[in-house]
Symmetry: C2
Subunit: 293 residues, 2 copies
């Protein structure tokens, strides 16, 4: 059933483009290249770039027109997973059903592979994104802000710092918004920016993305509790073992599910209210409530 | 004597600007902010941004016109030092005479502080660099290429991978060019790009920077052998202890010094042949042969 809910044809486009872009560093040291490829070709859902492409599609743009930026965001996501999994951070051995980067290539190479992916994300946009310079700069700024000291890294810092400690609901929300939400929001907004969306559309896309981002993190937390490691492809039950602050740990399972449902429904209402082709944006939102991994 | 040789007035500009830019993430998690400030305010020579400013000055530009990009390069350099010092990479306890970032803030926060600095480097340029969009994109591409899988990270990977192993002279040169040279070259080229240097000037500045970059790395290797930890502010003699591939280990001290002198003299001849105000570019080159840290 899943294939009717999730835009696998967009995943295919992303994977094809990624295969092209990574050829740019084929003269890079072999072990670095292998670590990057291993992490990047790890069979992810490509959730963020798919969202970026879906937004472009909803506005009548060609998917190819935003593909470099979409792929760059996937590189940043991949780098963040490699660093998050490191022994000194989340110390995770399993990711998408396979040993994590540092388990295969060592901690040093994993750190460097993450660093390289971050740089190459910017390089892909700077080399391949065919848009007006102003639009490229706007997209880069979205991505830079989403990944930096007020975005993804801030969220991860709070996560690390408060693991095993009491956290307020407001801080939990803020942590999740920074850690996961902002890059998802950037993916959506970059799709819209590069397709010259109006300010009105930008605002609505942003609200759509905020809801989607929160729902994504909540369902992620829920899956960690209810699924087997085999299903989710990473060590299940790890959040609880590590005393992580999660939605289920704060609100309980039932209420967490309700919040996720509400966020998805809000996201859907927003795109339904826009004069765009919202079909896939709705399907992607609904997919979050049904996903098993 | 040093103050007549090194442009301390440019260091001052850089430090002032850095103090302004880092206020942008004053709402970032406290521990992350502290780790970033600690590493960034560690009293470095600001060699790369100083070069960028000196190139701008040589072309008659105002220093302020390139300061954001110059500072961004310092952020990238700082991030690379934090990651290089990590236990799983160079495992260094001392940097510029003070405990390394991970010794103070822990390995997890050090990794995250490096990650944040990298993102914030791009953010500074995107927010503060007042140039034509095309020029900004050109500068970003220089920096992205210099830091990525074919630049700094490639050099660091080769360094890690070949530590304790035999390496060819060609590979040693290539490693140093990637690890240290390319960011130095980017600093020089960005100064020139943002000041609309002609293609002829660009080529000469690039050759100046290539020579400077190599001389910088050779003198760095030499200092590691001949200086005390107190003088160089990091653990002296570490290269040899760790079986690192260095210029002295491959060519011996005397020949290494000769190569450095030759590179400096070539760099000076290049800028002397240009119709620019080359005073500080020459002084910076000469400084490399006299520096003690």
């Amino acid at each position: 059933m899943k294939k009717y809910l999730y835009p696998d044809f967009l995943v295919k486009i992303i994977n094809e483009k990624l295969n092209i872009y990574i050829k740019d560093y084929k003269t890079s040291p072999e072990i670095l290249r292998k670590a990057i490829s291993y992490s990047l070709k790890n069979g992810g859902k490509r959730f963020r770039p798919v969202l970026c492409l879906a937004v472009a599609g909803s506005l009548g743009c060609r998917y190819e027109d935003v593909a470099p930026t979409a792929c760059a965001i996937e590189l940043i996501h991949t780098y963040s997973l490699i660093h998050d999994d490191l022994p000194s951070i989340d110390n995770d051995d399993l990711r998408r059903g396979k040993p994590t980067c540092h388990k295969i290539f060592g901690e040093d190479i994993a750190i460097l592979a993450g660093d390289a992916l971050f740089a190459e994300a910017f390089n892909i946009i700077l080399k391949y994104q065919q848009s007006e310079s102003e639009k490229i700069i706007e997209a880069l700024a979205e991505i830079g802000q989403a990944s930096g000291a007020l975005g993804m890294v801030a969220g991860q810092t709070v996560d690390v710092f408060y693991t095993g400690k009491e956290i307020t609901r407001r801080k939990l929300m803020c942590m999740h918004k920074n850690k996961t939400g902002k890059l998802i929001i950037a993916a959506v907004r970059c799709g819209a920016i590069l397709c010259n969306a109006s300010q009105g559309h930008m605002n609505k896309f942003t609200r759509y993305a905020e809801n989607i981002g929160m729902a994504f993190q909540i369902t992620d937390d829920i899956l960690d509790v209810v699924s087997s490691s085999e299903d989710i492809g990473k060590t299940a039950g790890k959040d609880s073992l590590q005393n992580k602050n999660t939605f289920p740990s704060m609100f309980g399972m039932e209420k967490s599910r309700k919040i996720a449902e509400k966020k998805v429904s809000e996201a859907i209402n927003i795109v339904k209210s826009m004069e765009i082709n919202s079909e896939w944006l709705i399907k992607i939102a609904n997919f979050l409530l049904l996903r098993k991994s």
